[in-house]
Amino acid sequence: MTANALTDLNVMVAGQGGDGSLTVISVLAELLARRGYHLYMSRNVASRIKGGHAEATMRGSLLQRGCLGDHIDLLVAFEQEAVDMAATRMAAESIIIFDASDGALCRDALAPNVRVVEIPFGRFAVRDLRRDLFKNSLSFGVLSHILSIDEGEATNCLHHIFRRLPQDAIAANTKALNRGRQYASELYAQQDRWTLADAERSEQLLISGNEAIAFGFLLAGGRFFAGYPITPATEVLESLQKHSVRFEAVAIQAEDELAAANMALGAAMTGVRSMTATSGPGFALMQETISHAGSAEIPLVVVNCQRAGPSTGMPTKPEQSDIDMMVFGANGDFPRVVLAPGEPRDCFELSVQATNLAQQLQCPVILALDQAVGQNSSTIEPFDLDAVQLQPGKRLDASELRNMSEYRRYQVTADGVSPWAVPGTPGGESLVTGNERNEWGQVSSNPQNRRTMVDKRQRKLDSNLQLLPRGKSWGDADASIGLLGIGMQQGVIEEAQQRLTAAGLRIKCLQPRTIWPVIDETLDFIRSSKRVYVIEHNQAGQLARLLLAAGASKACIGSIRKYDGEPFSPGELCSEIQQAEADRQGESGQ
């Protein structure tokens, strides 16, 4: 970190849950955004309720980044524990602003070059302003001083964030801010101050993946959602509950995941675009229903925002260990699509596509998120709302039906998709079932019919591959080394690739966005490489295994995995790859 205009800044605010760490981050986010920084924000809370260690981390960078940086440059710590936990992640020459209300900082765990500013915020806040809560604005004052922000700008941002509070609360916080600045100017040397860049500000959204999923669903005509709360997927339900009235939509909290998924099926059968969202344990409960949607050919979008498993696991930690279940879970053979977005824009786009695809293919479409993609927020350009188009699929209305001599719900067609009518349409009476059945929907176990029907359903995928979203690829297209990863890996891979390229390694990258079926794009990427590192968050190497199962050559695949609940940092990933490359060289040298 150089003292000149910061191009990349990682700030953590940490304390006990309920300390209001998020407020400090919000004001700083506002400030950085005004200065033209891109933001990436992550929260890390213990799986407990009030209290317990809680941290919010934000990266501000002039380049768009999809992950946190390797190190923390600035830490606002409201307690000793926060410092101890962050100690190994502190950058050289980084700064800790410590709330010394309960005593001086013990800096045993810290490298000597980490600087500490100790101020008893809490004590001062209570003493001067009569409420502990004001320590947040106090500490922002200190921060703003260190970052060489002038009073006007700091106040402005604070006021913006608190604009919905009553006047006296705003006044008190402003007072706290100024006190903070004052303490800082006394305690913190003028010459050590950092300066922020002042880049051009563009219109940006700060949104999480879960929120973007909900928004995309509404754009794509989604009007029925049923869910059951579960970390880290709950925000999809909550966003939709917030916005549903305006669009006359229904967002219902069911009694469990089985009810949620089956309510969505019931609504979907009436032609209303329907979704449910959950995380691993709930997705496991929905397996039977997903197979049913596949069998009965009912359009359904299911979001699985993955957390660390197995079972209850670590609910607030990210993992990508339900790939197997999403692709291969549930009973029997049936067509399904699994899409994996990498950041909020992707979430929005793939949510739209998933909602359309479910209608086009009449089968379950799964949106595979992970906790980091779902819950972290980042700044992105506003969505291009005008570009959203609805694909109605083969829906028959009353007049089309009237002109048909016969209507068979499961008519065997060239591409396997049957035209369908929804309840209420005269002439569209039909039988929808999860049993094997003939074209009319009547139960049948005739072997010839069975083959026809299995093949028909499979054709829905095989003859509609062109509808499936392509991935994102970047880097040096002619490189022989490839990096491949989905979801939260995207941002880390991007940054690692830039660094590796800078270090002289030729690398190309692919973030597949359709993970099931495995499409040619993915296999071609592997085929055209000498080796591909598959980077993922799980113990088994589920994605790598999936690619092998799809025909990728074993010799070509290198598997880089992590499963400790913490995302890769770009630096960590770089070393993993460099190490793997070195190992290869070593081997081939022998």
Partner: protein, 285 residues
Amino acid sequence: MTKTYQPNEPIWCAGCGHYGVRNALLAAFRQMQVESHQAMVLAGIGCAGTLQNNVSAYGYHALHGRVLPAATGAKLANPRLDVIAVGGDGDGYAIGCGHLIHSFKRNPGVVYILMNNGTYGLTKGQHSPTADAEETDEQAFDGVQLGLSIPGSGFIARGSSASPVQLQALMVAAMEHTRAGKGFAFLEVLSPCVTYNDTYPAWAGRMVNVDALAEYDCGDRIGAFTAVNSLLVENRFATGLIFKQDGKSPERRRLDSGQAPLCDLDISPDRQLSGFREIMAGYGV
């Protein structure tokens, strides 16, 4: 006219109680002038859960135990439909009983016809939750009593496949209740399984039709519970319209607040661009 599927003949054993349920439903449909395209008959899994194949309507074969959530979704999405959910006692009182409780509570305009035969017919005669106490060492479950215990439940009735006239009348009353936007209507039908648990003789003398009792007040929850429970401990069943209370279904609440049926909404995004832009602006920094 577009030709569509022809309802199959039932595949039930000769003498199965479920025939009576089907016949009463067809008669009730006629009486209520239900148009086949406006009715959706959703079924659970079991012998009872094949009834939808024998009726002209939009039929759906749900998963075992999940017919009520599916029916709820359908009714919320298209409130114009007559949504009839059917199923057996295994389907509704064993694997599906959590959803039954929450359907009483949520109160969607769904008619739920549960065919109680004290056994799992389709899987060949295992005990169901309503199986006789002597055989199972457990007290038989009673769905009517359960319904009464859920605050907000609004229509609870019991019929018998041996009493077609009463049964048809109860079905009509249930459909009228849902059509009026009052919410969930639960109708248990005693419908013997002649193959695995022939309770025709055992049940014959045990039914007491509360509709015929002069002093019975079906608007009194405590009175209803008292009557049902008193009969139950004597090994008898209350039948008839046991409890009725006017509520408001969620889909009716939506309509009353001026919202269109979900299935009628124009969902093209350009129709609501300003709304979407406003939400997006809320995420702006």
